[in-house]
């Protein structure tokens, strides 16, 4: 009687099967639908259409710009926050950090609705300033996602190096540019990864705050799908995948030391 000896590593098979069925296979289907037409034949017409049509390129450009603007704004606001929170000179209790993270636990659609009401109250709405409203909503939603990784990196920062730099005569500006920023680069990169592409692929915030005038790639994928145009939606999904891959490539060198395989 042949009984397969139970090894712990066999447990991985269960997980692997699940992943293949519900993560890999669906992505393969996306590729299938992106590059075939209704009759099932392989076609590249969607790719051609996407890159020759000014409106889809416009949407891509706007998405990239809003993604970039959101990332930059979040970094500008969030970097000092993380720095101050991580520096025992300015902040001793953990309470402040928790307060900053708490909005993440309130349902994000609800928060977006609240932002819409607040902005309407002060006069900014999808009717007159769709892009401003959308950007404010994005920053508001993604700020905690920037503060957390930055805080984590800054906590591990070696303060003695900073003091050494000061002792050696560097002024605060030089210390900041040449020492602190490179030391916190992994955190900055984490923040960018968590904000840039997700902004482009979201559609709830732009729908709610932009009055259906702000069209990000996420909106286009959603609309394509609602109109049962799977092929177009799938192709744009692939564009998203490409962008994600690109951001990864550009930032992978920085992350080598961090060892990003963990959350602890």
């Amino acid at each position: 009687m042949l009984k397969l000896k139970f090894r712990r590593k066999h447990l991985a098979i269960i997980y692997a099967v699940f992943l293949i069925a519900f993560v890999v296979a669906p992505l393969l289907l996306i590729f299938y639908y992106a590059f075939t037409n209704d009759a099932g034949q392989i076609t590249f017409h969607r790719m051609v259409n996407f890159f020759t049509d000014s409106s889809s390129l416009n949407d891509l450009l706007v998405s990239i710009l809003i993604g970039a603007a959101n990332t930059v704004l979040c970094l500008l606001i969030g970097y000092p926050v993380a720095y101050l929170l991580a520096n025992p000179k300015y902040n001793k209790s953990k309470m402040m950090l928790l307060l900053y993270v708490m909005p993440m636990w309130i349902n994000f659609v609800l928060r977006t609705g609240a932002t819409k009401d607040l902005l309407y109250w002060i006069g900014i709405s999808g009717n007159n300033r769709p892009y401003t409203a959308t950007l404010i909503g994005m920053v508001y939603n993604y700020l905690p996602f920037v503060i957390l990784p930055l805080y984590a990196t800054m906590q591990k920062m070696d303060q003695s190096q900073v003091e050494a730099a000061r002792d050696l005569g560097a002024n605060p500006f030089q210390t900041f540019i040449k020492l602190i920023i490179p030391m916190t680069m992994p955190g900055i990169v984490s923040a960018i990864l968590m904000v840039f592409v997700p902004t482009m692929s979201s559609f709830v915030i732009s729908n709610a705050l932009g009055g259906a005038k702000v069209n990000l790639i996420g909106n286009n994928i959603n609309t394509s799908f609602n109109y049962s145009r799977w092929g177009d939606g799938s192709f744009m999904a692939i564009i998203m995948l490409l962008l994600i891959g690109l951001t990864f490539l550009l930032t992978k060198n920085v992350n080598k030391e961090e060892g990003r395989g963990s959350l602890w």
């Binding site: 447990l11 709830v204 990864f248």
Partner: protein, 264 residues
């Protein structure tokens, strides 16, 4: 000294901006008015509206049931997966890890679209099961990421010792291995809960339209008519609940600290 004051005020200012929309809703949840801006005297009408609204109450119940179920399934699958990955050969480990990271780095709408296309391709009717699968796909990689580090920090010899002392592999697994990684399992469970409670996009794409969650019902309200005052009451209650959890956590943490200090 000045620096300290500036730092503190910056932190508090950004915090206030972060909470402004929520606080606005909280304040106006205590008055019976449709439009925010007019104060119609103190009233609990929005709370009456909230509890009398069967749709929102059903959505609340659904959201909690879904989060708990997805959390448990995801934690179990994640634990199995993490243990399996940890003891696998290098090649298998890399392959499974790569697949597992896909939902983490992927844009949520791509995950959602791919799952929906998978179900449609096989003519599977959308139901609670498809929704559950969607949420598990979304959360299980994070559970794995929570448990793997604990496995790495674990003392491997104890498992071998248990086997030497005559325990069956499964008994050793259960009584020796798992207790060492329990903090990771717990953290993973809570992480899965949080992600599931907050999710909108995957929910919208994989649910049967008769299963309403807080995310979907609020999204409909926000996009179409704006939040009625019942939603303001809901926001206030969620805010208070999260604040309550935060305070409890803080008290427990300081109690633990006091205990440790007393010992010395």
């Amino acid at each position: 000294m000045v620096k300290k004051i500036l730092a503190k005020s910056y932190l508090w200012l950004i915090l206030l901006l972060l909470y402004a929309p929520i606080l606005l809703l909280v304040i106006f949840s205590f008055t019976d008015t449709t439009v925010i801006g007019t104060w119609n005297g103190f009233s609990f009408k929005p709370y009456q509206n909230l509890f009398g609204n069967k749709d929102i109450m059903t959505a609340l119940k659904n959201t909690v049931v879904l989060a708990l179920t997805a959390g448990v399934v995801s934690t179990i699958l994640g634990t199995v997966g993490a243990i399996g990955i940890f003891y696998s050969s290098r090649r298998a480990k890399n392959a499974i890890n790569a697949m597992s990271q896909i939902p983490v780095v992927n844009a949520e709408i791509v995950t959602a679209l791919s799952l929906r296309i998978l179900f449609a391709f096989f003519n599977i009717e959308l139901s609670f099961l498809t929704l559950l699968i969607g949420h598990v796909v979304l959360t299980v990689p994070f559970v794995v990421l929570s448990i793997l580090p604990k496995l790495q920090q674990m003392d491997n010899n104890i498992y071998e010792a248990a086997l030497d002392l005559g325990a069956t592999p499964s008994r050793a697994l259960w009584s020796v291995l798992i207790p060492q990684i329990t903090p990771g399992i717990l953290a993973g469970f809570i992480l899965a809960l949080t992600l599931s409670l907050d999710d909108y996009i995957v929910t919208a794409y994989t649910r049967s339209d008769s299963f309403v969650t807080i995310s979907t019902i609020v999204e409909g309200a926000v996009r179409i008519r704006g939040l009625t005052n019942a939603y303001r009451a809901l926001t206030t209650l969620i805010f208070l609940a999260v604040l309550g959890i935060l305070i409890v956590m803080n008290i427990m943490a300081s109690k633990k600290k006091a205990k440790l200090e007393r010992k010395f």
